[in-house]
Amino acid sequence: MTTTRRLLGLGALGLLPAAVLGVFFLLPVSGMVARGLVVDGSFEPGAVLEVLTRPRTGRVVWFTVWSSAVATLVAVLLGLPAAYSLHRLEWTGRRVVRACLLVPFVLPTVVVGVAFRQLIGESGPLGPLALDGTAWAILAGLVFFNVSVVIRVVGSAWESLDSRPGEAAAALGASPAQVFRTVTWPALRPAVVSAASVVFLFCATGFGVVLVLGGLAFSTVETEIYLLTTDLLDLQAAAALSLVQLVAVTGLLVLAGRLRAVPDPTVRRTTAPPRRPRRGDLAPLGATALLLLAIATPVLSLVVGSFREALPGGGSTWSLENYRALTGQGDNQALLVPVADALVTSIRVAVDATWMALLLGGLLAVLLTRRSRSRTERRVRSVLDGLFMLPLGVSAVTLGFGFLITLDEPPLDLRDSPLLIPLAQALVALPLVVRTLVPVLAGVDDRLRQAAASLGAGPVRALLTVDLPVVWRPLLASGGFAFAVSLGEFGATSFLARPDAPTLPVVIFRLIGHPGRLNYGMALAACVVLAATTALVMLAVERLRVPSLGAL
């Protein structure tokens, strides 16, 4: 009787997330897949093959793979010394630098793209290098975006490594390099591999950066889907590519999950107090300084650019004109609404997306961390866990596109619903929320809940007494995180936003693609506004000091 009731209770908890995932994720994605496989009512996988054998598809896939691989490698190589300097050494300004290096991760992809274009564009500070429109620009953008992931994931693992095995090795005569190779690296490897797999995933599904920097010359699978859908109207080819991406990404996710699943039990976890730098630490500290410079340059050039006004006769001057123009609609009717309105829309959407992500993520996290009492239960849990991670890997473009083609007729004609965009964004942010909350809830000793129950607390009361005090901070932090992600979300939103109610990233993309004297400057100013908003939210979140935040 109690078992049945318990299971019923758990089932009820899972009902809402399951329904949402079913209608707003599985349905759109499978609708999209069906679009690729079914031609005129009959099952024809041949069409997919036809798309895949096009030379352009081959080029796109190849570019996606190698650019992601190279960007991942570079991000890891740059991130390791910084992770060490920021998490193992104690020096003045460490926290500030750490916060600065984490900013890129939450910067909206469109902003990163625009910042790089401003930096390396013809009139930019690095214009003479003629990097604009090359693959290097895209690689730099991807690395910029993902170094902070490496620092975050590897840094928190490094921080919790016991320093004594390394000292034991040093006392046995191992030089610092030998200590790193024989002791530190084996303990750190799982975190590095896990960070690399996540970064590869982000690179391979990166959208905004590639779209802004790559133009038509370079396309990844993700941007190709977008171009096929919006410019070429070749829905079937887009669906076929989405299908390929879905399979590849699911495979990668499973792999990443495997790698993550084993927090190496041989590694003892204690947070080692960071120590003062020694002479041998100069190299990593120098590398960190260079990285900081490299991260700051595009951001600074973006900010500087936003305060320059292009003069009609050529040349430019300092002015606030770009910001003043944000209340207007741009040159040549670039926009249907003022940029300021788009910011309001963005924030309103982000608020909705945040509560949705928190509600769903919270329910899921509770569901996933209850102790399994049978093998079946455990299996159901692990399947659920994987299922709700899918939005992380399924490209946002696929999702947005799927929404478009499946939720367009009764009873699910939601195209005009104001909740459609927040829902899509909530699904994109959901894995981040779940991944932040699960380690926290799982860390609560189940015996505490049993103790509360034995003292007469019901399940809800026990939740309030035991879990809530531990979880409110991570909950708040993941809410802020979801808010930031939603503010910058571009992939799905670009499909779903109506022209008369666009979000800020959509407006920025439209502005940089639209000729007009003021439009580019406005895009820069809008980027600064968006970036500043996101950065503020993230700095507030950072102050909550939640270790599992963003650790995928």
């Binding site: 004594r164 000292e167 034991a168 040093a170 006392a171 046995l172 191992a174 024989t182 084996p186 041989t266």
Partner: protein
């Protein structure tokens, strides 16, 4: 071939943990630094190993190593909980220091032979392929010891090598440790808070309190004449008596008068011809003797012992003698 520590100080965030310690450890001897937890003895060891930034100097055989990083000092440090590399087998743990120094086929054969030899030395033959996590606490410490000895370090630093073990095992391993160190002819500096452990392993003893060295000398000498009351209590003396009480106890023992006296629990013995007298308050039997608490006239409560066949009960009056080898005269504060 002597370790010379001169005026060594270590501070954590400006809070001094070790204050101006000077010590010498002659070749082939084992010095134990004894002190309560938090007295700075582990920090002293880490300072000698080069793991903490210290002022003062550390020299080996006249060569100043103060500026050398840990791995170039040629001192091996054995941690309290072993700190075995869990991702390596026992054999590869023990051979770790050897592999750092040489590579190649010939080196591998030597390493193998040396590892076997060391595992035999610590009584763990055939354990080479086991993983550290499958070992018991005592076995792990033996592996850690073998690993520290492998490259024949000029100095072995032992940080509470046995305190993570349970009492029985600790006593057993202390004897073995002494034997292994002597057989290998190793010079060693050990820190511990357990005086039994210090007595059974070391040749010389240094007592540390609140970051300072308070006494140093051969074990029996330190034991026989502790420098002050605190040291005496820490070395296992049961009580310290002062003034008139000290004078009377020393007189009863036939020793010259002093300002204070430290008394072991077995120093006062029930003896019909003894000079002291008192009333028995409680009796407890142990396998070897009876332990009494006696209210000695004019002195207050003292611990005393009696043979098992001595019949007495609480309330009885008894006469007491004092064993001069079990008291230590102290200079006054």
């Amino acid at each position: 071939m002597t370790l010379t520590i001169r005026d060594l100080s270590v501070a954590y965030d400006d809070v001094p943990a070790v204050r101006g310690v000077s010590l010498e450890v002659p070749d082939g001897s084992v010095l134990a630094v004894l002190g309560p937890s938090g007295c700075g003895k582990s920090t002293l060891l880490r300072g000698v190993a080069g793991l903490e930034q210290a002022t003062g100097s550390v020299a080996w055989d006249g060569e100043d190593v103060t500026r050398l990083p840990t791995h170039r000092r040629g001192f091996a440090l054995m941690f309290q909980d072993g700190q075995l590399f869990d991702h390596l087998t026992v054999g590869r743990n023990v051979g770790y220091a050897l592999r750092l120094r040489s590579r190649g086929r010939a080196a591998r054969a030597t390493e193998h032979a040396r590892v076997e030899e060391l595992l035999a030395l610590v009584g763990l033959e055939g354990y080479a392929d086991r993983l550290p996590r499958t070992l018991s606490g005592g076995e792990r410490q033996r592996v850690a010891l073998a690993r520290s000895l492998a490259h024949q370090p000029r100095l072995l630093l032992l940080d509470e090598p046995l305190s993570a073990l349970d009492a029985g095992l600790r006593r057993h391993l202390a004897g073995e440790l002494r034997e292994i160190l002597t057989r290998a002819g190793t010079t060693a500096l050990m820190v511990t808070h357990d005086h039994e452990e210090a007595f059974s392993v070391a040749d010389r003893l240094a007592v540390m309190r609140e970051g300072r060295l308070v006494q140093e000398g051969p074990i029996d000498e330190v034991w026989r004449s502790p420098v002050d009351a605190g040291t005496a209590l820490f070395l296992g003396y049961a009580r310290v008596l002062e003034g008139d009480a000290a004078r009377r106890v020393l007189a009863a023992a036939g020793a010259p008068a002093a300002a204070a006296v430290a008394v072991r629990r077995s120093a006062v013995v029930v003896d019909e011809r003894g000079p002291l007298e008192g009333e028995v308050r409680s009796i407890r039997s142990t396998p070897q003797l009876q332990r009494l608490v006696v209210a000695v006239d004019g002195l207050g409560d003292l611990d005393a012992v009696a043979p098992l066949d001595h019949r007495t009960s609480p309330g009885d009056r008894v006469r007491l003698g004092v064993d001069v080898t079990r008291v230590a005269a102290l200079a006054g504060d």
